[in-house]
């Protein structure tokens, strides 16, 4: 059994993974303690003729211990998770200089609209690609996520990014990639017959490489008008 995660490639992936391992250790300890105690009791106190069970209705002290210890532990997990959650999804978490890119999900494809050279969505040099999301590394990217028909979910496992795309809503989700490469993008919310093949790829490029590529695409786009 392998409990490790494949390393994430965004800035906050490590935070999520750290939390995951922390919870894994805590729940692992709880698991071992409970199951060992259970098995030990089953063996130690197995029924034998002539024996009688110890007559007791409980112990207030024990109740206090096993109420307060889990309470403290879960509150601690909550506080730690809250910090990371705020960093990823909090109200002001989106870096102001993030590069916008629009992703419109529809049955069963991802349409990616790039901001072009000017870095602004909705301007003339925007261009759209199907099922291919290219992003620069070392720079925060904010995805404007929309859906045309039903709910889809934007899931890039290696980025530790998952966000539902809801028709009628424009949801912002940001990430900053640290490792160039090619990563799968999948739909994680049942969206109909083709849900299982609603696949795209995410290509993370070095910043200069990305700029070159965008310029090239923008030019082509303007030229073809």
């Amino acid at each position: 059994m392998d409990w490790t995660l494949t390393p994430g490639v965004t800035t906050y992936a490590a935070d999520i993974d750290r939390l995951y391992y922390l919870i894994l250790v805590i729940t692992g300890i709880a698991f071992v303690v409970v199951e060992v105690a259970l098995i030990w009791f089953l063996i130690q106190y197995r029924g034998r003729p002539g024996r009688r069970a110890h007559y007791t209705h409980g112990s207030i002290r024990a109740e206090i211990v096993w109420t307060s210890v889990p309470a403290v532990v879960v509150v601690m997990i909550g506080v730690l998770s809250g910090g990371v959650w705020n960093h990823i999804r909090g109200r002001d978490s989106i870096p102001p200089d993030a590069l916008p890119v629009a992703v419109a999900a529809k049955q069963f494809e991802w349409n990616v609209t790039y901001a072009g050279v000017d870095g602004q969505l909705g301007s003339d040099d925007d261009f759209t690609l199907r099922n291919e999301l290219r992003v620069p590394t070392e720079r925060p990217v904010v995805v404007h996520l929309t859906a045309e028909d039903v709910i889809h979910s934007f899931f890039v496992p290696d980025f530790r990014v998952k966000q539902d795309a809801v028709p009628g809503m424009n949801i912002l989700v940001w990430f900053q990639v640290i490792e160039p490469g090619e990563y799968p993008l999948a739909c994680a919310e049942l969206c109909g017959l083709g849900h299982y093949r609603m696949e795209a790829r995410v290509v993370a490029l070095q910043p200069d490489e990305y700029d070159r590529w965008v310029a090239e695409q923008s030019n082509q786009n303007v030229a073809s008008r």
Partner: protein, 588 residues
């Protein structure tokens, strides 16, 4: 009431059963008969739901290969035995729907609430016997409506058991029209059945307890069923309302959930999960209660920390209302809202932990009898721990970003609903079988069934955690479509084979259940040497339950009482020399 003397007299003659066949077995108002009717109905749907799961597992383990025996399915489902994606979606949705609404929920609430409440609190029947009968006979057409989905044009509903809109609201998106409509109708009808049933349970528990059966002398199963009934009465109408609005969106062209004219897809999710999370506790609380009864019996000890168990049930019942958002962390819900839902969700781990430790405390220094119900109850504790702990991963919002909608969730819900609820249901069925039918189920076959189920169950569901950590999404028809999931395909096959064996193992249970009905060893009143009121009446219990209403003198789990040296249990109706009359279990 002026009629008291007369009713008492009539009750004492209740053993002379003059009901016609139809009144006795079909349109019976006897809570025990209705319980058994629910048992048969829900075991049937459990089998159906299991069969659907087998087809899914075939497709996941061996995508694109013809399913053995799949040739009997029509071409609209599986041409040449190869499942179609639309049929797969229907399987996913219907497996969840049948298991949640037509198998586990009626098994716990329909069967055990009906059967146990009057017997355990000392009432001759439910408060409203005819409503009780209505509750069953309304559930039957609901089940038929749901089944009908497979036989209409377009197939059964295919938007998942959660029926997220807009996929479920418009046939243009899902390709399913009549099936979706039938789903909504069936759920609305079933809702009425559940509300009638639960109204009955609440009223019965509040008003019909036998003399001496004070609140804190009720067995934990009754406490759990009581809180469950409250959750049902308050949560189910929300689902009914939402299902009806969805039905109107589908048929009348209203716009509640369709965004084109201002509807809100997230509204559906809020309504669904506002119902759905209490529903989760509806599915686990009665299981916890029954397991408490069985563990006390098996350990021959009073339950450890009875009062804190009761308060834990209440705490779960209340907290269950303010955690629904944890199903929606990645749904586009206001992230600040996500924060508060995370805290309340994590807090719900506390009462669950209290219960687990109290079960351990009950076994500690006990004199444990490993009868079949006890084995299932032990498995419940062991598996519920896994299901509960895996829930902590999801409660932590950042970790949930990664594991949401993956097989990690699938593993979690099956550890809670199969490892939890279903093991408790097996424990309950075997434990109360003698009271239902007057015969024991086979002990040896019961043990074989238990061990095989336990092993194959873990082999099926434990690896799903690994799939989830590998990023394997839920509800996908063909995992090999994705390159990054291909390394996990071997594990998928392993899971599928384990699942087939798990399903096959249940045939042992079915055979044991049916054969014991005719051939099982006949038993006297109290085969398990338990303390509850139900064991003071003959097995099977007669119409009216007791000739005269019993009087309760004891706390629910007085095993190995020092003042009773001849046997190791004191019935709730037994008087001990020095029991204080008003005493609760903690009076020491």
């Amino acid at each position: 009431m002026a009629t008291t003397a007369a009713t008492f007299d009539q009750v004492s003659h209740a053993n002379v059963d003059t009901r016609s066949f139809l009144r006795k077995y079909v349109f019976s108002t006897d809570h025990k008969t209705i319980g058994i009717q629910f048992l048969i109905l829900s075991l049937f749907f459990l089998a159906v739901g299991g069969l659907l799961a087998m087809m899914m597992r075939w497709q996941l383990g061996f995508p694109g290969q013809a399913m053995p025996g799949g040739g009997v399915l029509p071409d609209t489902m599986a041409p040449g035995g190869i499942l179609l994606p639309e049929f797969y979606n229907a399987l996913v949705s219907m497996h969840g729907t049948f298991m949640v609404f037509f198998a586990i929920m009626p098994l716990l609430v329909g069967v055990f609430a009906n059967f146990l409440i009057p017997l355990k609190i000392g009432a001759p029947d439910m408060a409203f016997p005819r409503l009780n009968m209505a509750s069953f006979w309304i559930a039957v057409p609901a089940g038929l409506l749901m089944m009908a989905g497979f036989f209409v044009e377009g197939g059964a509903a295919g938007a998942g058991w959660t029926m997220y809109v807009p996929l479920s609201a418009d046939p243009e998106y899902s390709g399913v029209s009549a099936g979706q409509t039938l789903w909504c109708m069936s759920i609305a009808v079933l809702g009425l059945s559940s509300i009638l049933g639960s109204t009955n349970y609440i009223t019965t528990i509040i008003n019909l307890r036998a003399p001496g059966m004070g609140w804190f002398r009720m067995p934990l199963s009754i406490w759990a069923l009581f809180i469950t009934a409250i959750l049902t009465v308050l949560a189910i109408p929300i689902l009914s309302g939402a299902a009806i609005m969805l039905l109107f969106d589908q048929t009348l062209g209203t716009h509640f959930f369709l965004p084109a004219e201002g509807g809100q897809p997230l509204l559906w999710q809020h309504l669904f999960w506002f119902f759905g999370h209490p529903e989760v506790y509806i599915l686990i609380l009665p299981a916890m209660g029954m397991v408490s009864d069985v563990i006390a019996n098996g350990s021959r000890k009073p339950i450890f920390g009875y009062h804190s168990m009761v308060f834990a049930i209440m705490a779960i019942g209340f907290l269950g209302w303010i955690v629904w958002g944890h199903h929606m962390f990645q749904s586009g819900m206001n992230p600040t809202l996500g924060m508060s839902f995370m805290i309340s969700t994590l807090l719900i781990a506390v009462p669950s932990a209290i219960k687990t430790f109290n079960w351990l405390g009950t076994m500690w220094r006990g004199n444990i009898r490993f009868h079949v119900p006890m084995l299932h109850a032990i498995a419940f504790v062991a598996m519920f721990v896994i299901g509960g702990l895996s829930g902590v991963f999801m409660a932590s919002t950042p970790v949930d970003i990664y594991i949401h909608d993956t097989y990690f969730i699938v593993a979690h819900i099956h550890y809670v609903l199969f490892g939890g609820s279903l093991f408790a249901i097996f424990a309950g069925i075997v434990f109360w079988y003698p009271k239902m039918f007057g015969r024991m189920m086979s002990e040896s076959w019961g043990k074989v069934h238990f061990f095989l189920t336990f092993v194959f169950y873990n082999l099926t569901f434990f690896p799903m955690h690994q799939l989830g950590l590998g990023g394997h999404m839920r509800r996908i028809y063909d995992p090999t479509e994705y390159e990054f999931l291909q390394p996990l395909q071997g594990m998928n096959q392993f899971i599928s084979i384990s699942a087939f064996l798990l399903f096959a193992t249940q045939i042992i249970f079915a055979a044991n259940f049916i054969l014991s009905w005719f051939r099982g060893k006949k038993v006297s009143e109290n085969p398990w040497e338990d303390t509850g009121l139900e064991w003071t009446t003959p097995s099977p219990a007669p119409h009216g339950n007791w000739p005269t209403t019993p009087t309760v003198y004891q706390a629910p789990y007085e095993f190995s009482h020092p003042q009773e040296q001849t046997k190791d249990f004191v019935m709730q109706t037994d008087k001990l020399p020095t029991t204080s009359p008003a005493g609760g279990p903690a009076d020491r």
